[in-house]
């Protein structure tokens, strides 16, 4: 019963992070030319690829984590 209750907020979280992640991917690939040019200028522009990778790891990582939990794939609790 407790598990059933937790699934609702988990589904909402998965949906929010999934949508956000999808939006970020859409933004990157719809502006492919600008991004590939700007991100590879070298020097201080290194902030762009490193920062983008970090943002994606938080957003997409949270989506992946919630998705796995929603599918019932979780770590062994007694460990």
């Amino acid at each position: 019963m407790k598990k059933q209750k937790a699934k609702g907020p988990l589904a909402i979280k998965t949906l929010i992070f999934g949508a956000l992640s999808g939006l970020l991917y859409y933004l990157v690939f719809s502006n492919e030319d600008w991004i590939t040019t700007t991100y590879t200028m070298g020097g201080w522009h290194t902030i762009y690829p490193v920062g983008t990778a970090l943002v994606f790891s938080f957003v997409h990582g949270a989506f992946a984590s919630n998705l796995l939990s929603l599918l019932g794939i979780e770590a062994k609790s007694s460990h």
Partner: protein, 440 residues
């Protein structure tokens, strides 16, 4: 005293990071490469090239290896220049031209997602891996070598961060040990780079390739067999892993500063952790997979369990990956599209691998690690005859043998990844089913 020593090591690592990042050297691109666009190609095999960043126009000569028809105008390319064999100076003669951003077709996207997913799974489970197959895969899909290495590096640190966080939550990652090892590993990277430069200057590119491959095969075969035999004994005997004699001996030597690593449950002199860290860094700078020495080093020399060692390796991978990505970013070689496509699947894979460790016995990590190391050694070993021929140490290979060896090399990597994926998934599913039966 202990805190002072910790601060000293971390500060040393930090200084190395800042100094190499400032100089733009370290793990950056080869010096014989130019990045930019061709603005004009002349029929007399000369061309005007606008260098990226500075905007400087260089007049280049196109060698006979370059097809004039295939040079794209106003499209970002990487140009490899010929190095004079006697003086080792870089000439303005173009050896090859590769388009920096490959066109992404649906098939290529699917390939990147699949490799990313299994690479992530492996990384979450054994603490390292993926890089040895991701870079060659990207290259075979059409990315230039330097771009493939840079884009892989940029995907490594976010993946390791997510994996390290998960395994820290499961009580497996020792952050203090990881940071300590990472700081010393960066020193090892510097030493590794200096050795590489020395070899490159004395024996050229072929000598460097041979050195990298030989190191790869020797380290992977020796350590891989040791890890595999250890895991086999444990699996057969059904016993829990014991701390090795070397680790017990080292832990018993009271050489200040003694450092207590809580999660790993170890108290050991800092002087014994430094060589393992340095060796990890040296290997990372040589064969790009430092974890293959870092994890066994943490298990057999320091005395951590395979569970803690593989989790802690993710902390080291995060620090070193972040540092490497800044380096490659400074040179402007990261294709973020490739990085993000691999991340899309590897962030799922790494979490699956991390939670998978909670369902398996300690020796399972050693089995996967040992098998992967040995299969990867075959892949690299297949490259050695070609490099020996390049150096004139044996007769040139005939085209059919060269092509066969290349295929063996590539497919061995795929086999390593496939084998790891199957062992991890099977162990995880079995563990999950047993856990469910236990609760019912």
């Amino acid at each position: 005293m202990k805190k002072l020593f910790m601060c000293f090591v971390l500060a040393l690592g930090f200084i190395f990071v800042v100094s190499t990042a400032w100089a733009g050297g370290g793990g950056g691109p080869p010096k014989n490469m130019l990045k930019g666009v061709f603005v004009k190609v002349n029929k007399d095999r000369t061309a005007d090239f606008k260098v990226d960043g500075t905007g400087e126009i260089k007049h280049l000569i196109l060698s006979e290896h370059v097809d004039l028809e295939e040079i794209p105008l106003e499209r970002k390319v990487l140009v490899s220049l010929i190095t004079d064999e006697k003086t080792h100076e870089i000439t303005n003669e173009v050896k090859s031209v590769s388009i920096m951003f490959m066109d992404l077709t649906p098939a290529k996207i699917i390939a990147l997602l699949v490799v990313g997913l299994i690479g992530g799974l492996l990384s979450g489970f054994i603490g390292s891996g993926g890089a040895f197959v991701l870079t060659p895969s990207m290259m075979s899909l059409g990315a230039p070598g330097a771009v493939a290495v840079a884009s892989n590096m940029c995907h490594k640190f976010p993946k390791a961060m997510v994996g390290a966080y998960k395994r820290w939550k499961y009580g497996q990652a020792d952050i203090k040990l990881g940071l300590f090892m990472a700081a010393t590993a960066i020193i090892g990277v510097q030493i590794g780079i200096q050795i590489q430069k020395y070899i490159l200057n004395h024996w050229g590119n072929a000598g460097s390739n041979l050195y990298v491959s030989l190191m790869f095969v020797i380290v992977l075969v020796v350590v891989g067999i040791y890890v595999f035999l250890d895991a086999y004994k444990l699996a057969k005997g059904g016993k829990e892993a014991e701390t090795t004699k070397i680790a017990k001996k080292l832990q018993s030597i009271n050489l200040p500063p003694m450092i207590h690593f809580k999660t790993a449950g170890i108290k050991i002199s800092a002087w014994f952790t430094i060589p393992v860290g340095v060796a990890t860094g040296m290997l990372a700078a040589t064969i790009a997979v430092g974890g293959f020495i870092g994890v066994p080093g943490l298990i057999y020399v320091i005395g951590a369990s395979a569970m803690v060692a593989s989790a802690t390796e993710l902390v080291i991978a995060f620090c070193m990956g972040m540092w490497g990505s800044i380096q490659w970013g400074l040179s402007g070689l990261i294709d973020i599209r490739l990085t993000l496509l691999i991340l899309a699947a590897s962030l799922i894979g790494v979490q699956l691998g991390a939670l998978g460790t909670t369902y398996v016995k300690d020796y399972m990590i050693k089995i996967v690690m040992g098998s992967v190391m040995l299969i990867v050694a075959v892949s690299r070993g297949a490259k050695i005859p070609g490099y020996l021929a390049d150096l004139g140490l044996r007769a040139p290979l005939d085209p059919s043998t060269a092509s066969l060896l290349n295929s063996i090399s590539f497919w061995a990597l795929v086999a390593a990844l496939g084998t790891a994926g199957i062992i991890i998934s099977a162990a995880m599913i079995r563990g999950m089913l047993q856990a469910r039966q236990g609760t019912n």
